[in-house]
Point group: C2
Chain length 88, copies 2
Amino acid sequence: MSQIHLEIRIKPRPGLLNPEGKAIHHALQSLGWDGVDDARVGKVVYLDLDAPSESDAIEAAHAMCRKFLANPVTEDFEVSVVGKTADA
Amino acid sequence: MSQIHLEIRIKPRPGLLNPEGKAIHHALQSLGWDGVDDARVGKVVYLDLDAPSESDAIEAAHAMCRKFLANPVTEDFEVSVVGKTADA
């Protein structure tokens, strides 16, 4: 078993309202960044997961997203391995 | 000018309390994923930004993080270019 470090990015689907992104967009414009055309906000979950392999960890993370972490109607998700610690 | 698509990941600094991560960690364990050792939650901002070059866009995003998007005491940030649309 190794400890796999995962980054799970959960983002709002295109076309759906994203009020937090809109607020950030307006705030950035007020601060002078008028080149910003759109801002959307999602969340990112960093998981340390004991798994026999990277592909098992990724599969588990996909299952977590489908079942719990992401809203299947409004959000998409992407999983990346960002590190690995070998257990003794 | 091109439209640069950026992904800005804002994550809690290691060692700081992350109550949302703790809640997710417990929930995943209750759902049977007992291989999870730690969970931390941050946010991810997707920006579409008009900029002369990718490096200008990245520099602007760093300034936005320092000034507004990230908490300099409790959060770290990373900026990646995830796409580019050439303007006519």
